[in-house]
Amino acid sequence: MTKENYRSPRVGIGNAPLMEAVGNRQITVEGAAGILLYESRCVKISAGKMVIAFHGRGLRLRCISGSCVEIIGFISNIEYLC
């Protein structure tokens, strides 16, 4: 297996965010531009041309960096607002 296989899929699809989910308990969003709303029942993240809304219970931002946000909690619904 070469290094090419490990390259992020974002390379091929422009500036679309990359989301990695572990069940419905943890989601990592790469390519996030900012946080629009942060509540325990809803987290809205700006990701370029779209806004992604995560609904659930006990939602928390575990890690916030320049382009990456990690959300933990009980996620019941993911909504794309384009």
């Binding site: 900012g34 946080i35 709303l37 942060y38 509540e39 325990s40 928390r60 931002l61 916030i64 320049g66």
Partner: protein, 395 residues
């Protein structure tokens, strides 16, 4: 865990963001590379934690975001140290304590030895001390390999020994040699003969032809069990006779105690000398001026023990008693008691193997002292193996 430790050392504050849009603060801080953690929405606003070094940046970001920050809690070493800034004694004490801990950790505190069946612990401790393995020596100065070699050469009963240094504790693991099983020598032809005069009470014969019966009397040297056996083919076979022949044997002995007795005893007066034992070094704590021409000295060490571990800190008590020789004239009762004791010792150490069946003591008092004639009957094994040579081949 490590991250928490680093945060504690650097110090951090928990703050609340009050304002219209606290999310803006998160965005600005993340873009500026200010590390926030534990950001969680609360009823009164967003709460988060940040290192104290970055809190100034957070306030600048808050001003830009149009929100206000309020410190809720302060944690970490800088705040803790600031609380005790006025109490330098505590800091100096802590520093001295830490230095003392590091310094004392360089020494051996305790030496423990694994269980042994035949080699005494005191002997091993002595040999370890000779090799430089004892409480109070520098840990790095201990040559474990040399100590192992030295002790294995000195103690023949040991097959393996390991000296392990764990922190300030020396653990000595020992393994004793397994004794060789008692191999029966080549069965040379032998008879069983009586070792003493007696009356046979019981016989347990393994090999050989029994020549006597229970109840018969035998004299010393009489043949009890013969090693010459006649086979079914009328051939003579020479074997080693084995067995036990129990017999009642009479034993007589005279004991004598002089009337005037010289006895060496210790005096009632004793002097005690105390020493403080710290890591093997003894610091005298008392002074005694009493002098004895001849004296016996006993030593007792009481060590401080924590969790069943004897620490190298204790009090050594040296008790010295003088020796004196006193003469006394024995009364008849005293003489009888002493003679009875001597008879008991004779039974125990000279006739220990046999069971005593009867005992008669006859006391007599003379001008020089008291005498006692002991007449006892012991029941024991009188069979003794006596080899005999056979000319020619035998099987």
């Amino acid at each position: 865990m490590l991250v928490d430790l680093i945060r504690f050392i650097k110090g951090y504050v928990v703050f609340r963001v009050v304002g219209k849009s606290p999310e803006r603060l998160l965005n600005i801080t993340s873009h500026r590379g200010v590390m926030l953690w534990n950001a969680q929405p609360g009823a009164d606003g967003l709460e988060a934690s940040v290192c104290i070094a970055e809190y100034r940046s957070v306030r600048q970001c808050a001003r830009k975001a149009g929100v206000r920050t309020v410190i809720l809690q302060k944690h970490g070493l800088p705040f803790w140290a600031a609380r005790y800034r006025g109490r330098t004694g505590i800091l100096i004490g802590a520093a001295i304590g830490a230095a003392l801990l590091v310094f004392l950790s360089q020494f051996i505190w305790t030496v423990s030895i694994g269980e042994t069946a035949h080699v005494s612990e005191a002997r091993l401790r002595g040999l370890l001390a000779d090799s430089g393995v004892r409480a109070g020596v520098l840990r790095h100065a201990v040559d474990t390999a040399q100590a192992q070699r030295h002790i294995l050469l000195q103690v023949e009963e040991l097959s393996w020994l390991s000296v392990n240094i764990v922190g300030s504790h020396v653990r000595v693991e020992v393994k004793e040699k397994v004794p060789k099983p008692g191999l029966e020598p080549n069965a040379r032809p032998c008879n069983l003969k009586a070792a003493a005069d007696g009356v046979i009470t019981d016989m347990q014969i393994g090999d050989g032809i029994t020549q006597v019966k229970t109840g018969s009397g035998v004299r010393k040297g009489d043949l009890l069990v013969s090693g010459v056996q006649l086979t079914a083919q009328n051939k003579v076979r020479y074997i080693c006779a084995k067995g036990k022949v129990m017999a009642d044997v009479r034993a007589d002995k005279d004991f004598f105690v002089p009337q005037k007795d010289w006895r060496t005893t210790v005096t009632e007066t004793a002097t005690r000398h105390f020493c403080l034992d710290v890591m093997g070094a003894r610091l005298p704590c008392s002074l005694s001026l009493t002098h004895f021409d001849s004296a016996v000295c006993s030593e007792q060490t009481n060590r401080l023990t924590v969790n069943d571990v004897a620490l190298p800190l204790g009090v050594v008590t040296e008790t010295t008693r003088g020796i004196q020789t006193v003469s006394s004239v024995l009364t008849e009762n005293e003489a009888k008691k002493r003679l009875q004791k001597e008879v008991l010792l004779w039974e125990l150490f000279e006739k220990g193997e046999g069971r005593r069946v009867s005992k008669q003591l006859a006391f007599d008092a003379g001008p020089a002292g008291f005498s006692c004639h002991a007449r006892c009957v012991f029941n024991g094994n009188i069979a003794e193996s006596v080899d005999f040579s056979v000319e020619g081949e035998y099987n």
